[in-house]
Symmetry: C2
Subunit: 175 residues, 2 copies
DNA sequence: CTAAACATGTAAACGGTTACATGATTCG
DNA sequence: CGAATCATGTAACCGTTTACATGTTTAG
């Protein structure tokens, strides 16, 4: 984050996480402060200013920037292995048809809400095309659309299964 | 998993994670064995059979099944807070245009490969419509499509930006 | 004056991964 | 007979969250 958005104190990094990066990667202040010390000890960042109320401004070093670039370029994509929405989907057959519909509808509603929040962000200056976060924000929005569409599709599937079974019963009522 | 796919030993659960649920939620045997003991102590599962080589077959109890259903129905969706693809996207402006293109292309290629793997799964009996895993698999496939499409869109964006800047330079060459 | 915001830290606990460790059975 | 597979466990470590803890400055 220091490499992308410039120098900051632990406190303002924490605010940046809440505002900008939170939907992509998050960190609490209790993780940030020790991490800043560790990065400083490794020479990847340095204290460049000390302001009011004991605040310290950290700036990324040349080595630090190189390390981040290297990570971006050389890290190979890995499949996500913690997908809570999909886990619930996996277990859906355990619950009643009505409960299943409700669960999926809640997922769809939640996504709709997130889409609105993220699209509001998109019109801010920091997320203009070419800026840090613009690509990530676009991906976030698309992923929310995907979950919403999937949930609506899944509800239709449930209903079709029900109708198909009902139709089958009415055609062969004795079996 | 015991509630969805029936009784299993720690070893076979580990195999099931590798085969079926891995792309959604994963667990290693070192996590599974202690967890089975914990769930047993809480009365959510029980040992129903002891086979060869000291293998123990665990079955979900009535309470266990109720607990899982309750979790599925009552857990509200939470925004994902660890999205490595999006994090890389966020940091893309740090690297050169060529490197950026390569990173995005790798992401697209990786997704294409995953799509093929997951679609191969879809034609298996366990993933037929209405079965455990069918909805989750569909979501997984759609999410991979989303990343692939997004990466391709992002590459186009990069190229358009370059062209626009080149055009701008050629129209006002002195500035 | 006091509540909110600014600002920084530490400790305990938890979930998960990696590595260590052991032994039984089957297949070639 | 030896390698692969079946089968179960523990220990150390790491990243993260929750809770604890403290002090300063600003705005109403």
């Amino acid at each position: 984050m220091l490499s992308a958005l410039g120098p900051a104190s632990g406190y303002s990094l924490s605010k940046r996480f809440d505002a900008t990066l939170g939907h992509v990667w998050n960190a609490k202040h209790s993780q940030i402060y020790p991490e800043l010390k560790r990065l400083q000890a490794e020479g990847l960042i340095e204290v460049t200013d000390e302001g009011a109320r004991g605040s310290k401004s950290y700036t990324i070093t040349h080595t630090g920037r190189a390390t981040v670039s290297h990570w971006v370029i050389d890290t190979e994509p890995a499949p996500v292995r913690r997908n809570e929405a999909a886990l619930r989907a996996f277990l859906i057959p355990l619950v009643s048809q009505d409960d299943a519909r409700a669960v999926l509808q809640r997922e769809a509603d939640f996504s709709t809400q997130r889409i609105q929040e993220l699209e509001a962000l998109r019109s801010t200056a920091e997320h203009a095309p070419g800026h840090f976060g613009a690509l990530a924000l676009e991906l976030g929005i698309r992923q929310m659309h995907t979950i919403r569409d999937w949930a609506q599709w899944a509800i239709e599937q449930l209903d079709q299964d029900t109708n198909a079974q009902a139709a089958h019963r009415s055609h062969s009522p004795q079996h």
